[in-house]
Symmetry: C2
Amino acid sequence: LLLIGDVCCTLAGVIDLAVDWMTDLKEGVCLSAFWYSHEQCCWTSNETTFEDRDKCPLWQKWSELLVNQSEGASAYILNYLMYILWALLFAFLAVSLVRVFAPYACGSGIPEIKTILSGFIIRGYLGKWTLLIKTVTLVLVVSSGLSLGKEGPLVHVACCCGNFFSSLFSKYSKNEGKRREVLSAAAAAGVSVAFGAPIGGVLFSLEEVSYYFPLKTLWRSFFAALVAAFTLRSINPFGNSRLVLFYVEYHTPWYMAELFPFILLGVFGGLWGTLFIRCNIAWCRRRKTTRLGKYPVLEVIVVTAITAIIAYPNPYTRQSTSELISELFNDCGALESSQLCDYINDPNMTRPVDDIPDRPAGVGVYTAMWQLALALIFKIVVTIFTFGMKIPSGLFIPSMAVGAIAGRMVGIGVEQLAYHHHDWIIFRNWCRPGADCVTPGLYAMVGAAACLGGVTRMTVSLVVIMFELTGGLEYIVPLMAAAVTSKWVADAFGKEGIYEAHIHLNGYPFLDVKDEFTHRTLATDVMRPRRGEPPLSVLTQDSMTVEDVETLIKETDYNGFPVVVSRDSERLIGFAQRRELILAIKNARQRQEGIVSNSIMYFTEEPPELPANSPHPLKLRRILNLSPFTVTDHTPMETVVDIFRKLGLRQCLVTRSGRLLGIITKKDVLRHMAQMANQDPESIMFN
Amino acid sequence: LLLIGDVCCTLAGVIDLAVDWMTDLKEGVCLSAFWYSHEQCCWTSNETTFEDRDKCPLWQKWSELLVNQSEGASAYILNYLMYILWALLFAFLAVSLVRVFAPYACGSGIPEIKTILSGFIIRGYLGKWTLLIKTVTLVLVVSSGLSLGKEGPLVHVACCCGNFFSSLFSKYSKNEGKRREVLSAAAAAGVSVAFGAPIGGVLFSLEEVSYYFPLKTLWRSFFAALVAAFTLRSINPFGNSRLVLFYVEYHTPWYMAELFPFILLGVFGGLWGTLFIRCNIAWCRRRKTTRLGKYPVLEVIVVTAITAIIAYPNPYTRQSTSELISELFNDCGALESSQLCDYINDPNMTRPVDDIPDRPAGVGVYTAMWQLALALIFKIVVTIFTFGMKIPSGLFIPSMAVGAIAGRMVGIGVEQLAYHHHDWIIFRNWCRPGADCVTPGLYAMVGAAACLGGVTRMTVSLVVIMFELTGGLEYIVPLMAAAVTSKWVADAFGKEGIYEAHIHLNGYPFLDVKDEFTHRTLATDVMRPRRGEPPLSVLTQDSMTVEDVETLIKETDYNGFPVVVSRDSERLIGFAQRRELILAIKNARQRQEGIVSNSIMYFTEEPPELPANSPHPLKLRRILNLSPFTVTDHTPMETVVDIFRKLGLRQCLVTRSGRLLGIITKKDVLRHMAQMANQDPESIMFN
């Protein structure tokens, strides 16, 4: 776990630095050393204040470098073209790498990790190649300016690390359960480093990723997150001594009346979540079923081109999404020079710098509002098409950006309303003229939480991540209120979060722990064989020959076979795995004397009594699972579903007074649940 | 849940106010209105600055009021006596109320709530009387100055509320599982209001209290905690607009080298936890087994008297424990006048107020160190004897106090070391002369976390509670490091936290989800009847008479009986509850025609074929549970323990190919686990 935490964190640091450099590479290059990002390049120069940032001489835009022009229409167009070219290059490289080397490296990876942790095996999904390619392509796609984040994929990367390290220790590589615990802990470390939110990471792993989360895993995740946080602190990628990505400091408390806009933002978040999930799933289904899915490279190129073309002219979409969020969260100090802070200052103001009263908005703010509105629409549309393409893509940052834009706009609206109408009843109590009563940055934070909540349906982990992200511990009630509202609104339109929806879309056999099964069906209604179907394929304990079994194995594709006393009594004595049967027969035929096709196979302690000249029998008790999981045919399905979930079973035998009646597999359970929810059971694909 | 959150919070607010008043009542009284606490009394007066607090004319100490003397030895002695008298009065009232009205109101209640949530029923434990008496006595005991906190009992109070409200709605009162979910949520609300830590409360409920925590409960707890936090914010008991109990603001980051003392504090916390648990359990066992337990009132009186006598002379033990913690957490500003902040100021200092460099300690600090050392020893000893008496008593605050005292002492030590030896290698990098490099208050915070962690073995919830409590989000790595070390050290000496130890001591049948069972025993080794014991008491499906069954019920005290086809075949068909059997037979004898003692009872669909003149048979299929939980005799105990835990079973039948072999109850599992851990299985009492 120490290793996992360390490596994750180092990887995350490398990714951060590389992304910084490559994002800036789209706009220009550093003359002193081309591997410096804009900020690093200008650190060494003398003009480091914010206003002069663009005038740092060592940093040259492409137009300056190529045609020695920094102003004018042609320079602008040249920069624009270079921006698009770099974006296309990065995206093309990324999608090609994914296609050629590691097809599993695409997407956010969280739905698949959820499925793996629930007990399903996807071979190679957590392999070394996936790790390598995902890391590299993640840098490329984030730099290309597509509307996606690196947080979800980092969880996948962390899980790959976890899987790699656990394969080094035999304690973990042998035991599937223990390996899953390590993976849960790795997921926690992934979120921890992605956001610099150690506790939030643990809770994310608990609430979203893990299937069954024993307390020991909590404790392990906590340790992994601690190591990650510690390493992060040593590396210090955010360039300040804080662990926090979007550190904000607000100087005013919030007021009760502000809960109303916060709840409105919660509603917006819920609606955005619903809209996003519906549209994204519809688009992904279209991609899966039509010819569109055959040209993933072209799709990525087209989306990148459109994104780059639309994004460049608007300063809020041109900058990287995390910078945007950071700017939106920020409170306007007196010295802030950004457009968003272009308020009309009272010339007579003699207050201290920290405590600025509400001011009327200047021209810059109005311009910014228009640009933000356009950016909002653009982000909403483009994110729907981006998530799910064949490149690594996370959802956290785009969702937060949508929320932060909406929140900031509402915040500025409320602020101006309060400034111009402070005699209204609602404002009178908490907003005297000349007081600082509305903090638009706080609205952006609440909006971001609401939108993230609407998409992922997180609650506790969301709030913890938000306040670890911003340090805004005092604003826990607004954040909680927005998260609750957003979840309510989104749940009213559809129970599934984006990750569950993608699991469903991809047809992974995932039994959600969150839904309740309340129907009154019994095990007998679900088990196979159904009425009229041929009887179950079973083995008898001491009367089948090797040939019989080989035929049975050839004709069916079940994972295992129940073993009964005899076909007449059908009394269950155990369960034999298909794989182990094949292996045992093969070994016996090769190494054991006298095993021929009509040797009797027996699962009992003592060999059966055979006629004198029959061939040597084959003892297979060793591979018999003597404690298969059974329920009676009268067991309510509610209980059966509960057992499947809590014990992570793949199949369960149905008996009555010891007589084998049938079998229920996880897929049967999932089909039945779909049927009960009035969905077509055949709509659930399994691949 | 809305109601629970609201009521909990209101109760907590009332308790807070009452405790404030009564704690101050021990020292004096407000002349303007006797129901004002010291602080409220002096609010109205003009001298409200900290220095003049003691000189507020409306507030009179007992000596001033009674003999009109405020200084001198006799006044001191009079005040001392009044202090002891009030403490004794409060404690006597509390213990009498508990003894007479609600014996369950004693202790912290958390061990019992854990047991209840694991599926055991303690009747009346969450009743209305317990709620009322616990609330009243909690105020009394906290005011009496005993070394105990109100946080644990508040969880119990919240659960009583939860139980009360869930009994009002038939949806919850009928379904045991749903009721438990409400109780988990209530526990979260309890911690939320106790500390003003909504997220911490949810996590505490998850990590410490709840047995099985489905995500839906997480979400409910979150809602309950939100409501509680919101109500708290409206009531505003801490008198500032923050939700935080011990709000601190530090101005310096921490340095890597400081991790060493932090980890030392973690070790101290672990050792304290071990010492406390061992001594406290030994003392409680002594109380249970010797004559000591017969005089609970006397015990409380004696402990209160000793506490009051020793506590009064030392200012750090005289003030209430939460005030003490608050003072220890505080960073010394330039204007601070308390003894702990008596540093020698540099007369030439012209820096801003916020950024005070390290200074040499003055006389006051040295005095404070001695007093703190004495207070530490006193708190350690007295807490061991206090926790477990027949009064409501929580552990959080005393543990935190022990840690905060130790931490502050270490912090001042490091600070002075750094000041006097800033040329040492370890200090040279981060501590230039004239810089503010060590914050003793931070050490107090870390120490408090470590001690609380050592006692309760919390990890994630501990860290979250600590940073919600103090707002110190930047210090997450020190807190995590201390929590991890403390847990490691404490676990090395004994796996059980204080709550598990008390569950064990009281013999509740609690199957801990945290331990792993790794032995290779099988179900057949644990089940009853064992070899040589008489066979299992079973019912047959259609051959026993009413009289036979009545005799069986009279002769045994099992909770239920397996039903088999016949004594020869012993094939299991179901399980019948004792209670339902008795009820069914009673009803049939009263209401059904022709049911006599030698009527045949049958559990099959069709009545058995009986001789012509036999009495009317009694059909009991209705009460037969057709899906009893079964395992085969070859099932490893590891799996059985897992099933018991995850499905919350009370018993499980053991079969082989459908033939009933025996039964395993939760108590058998617990006994077996004790035996495997080399403990005497008979040492586990069940009451």
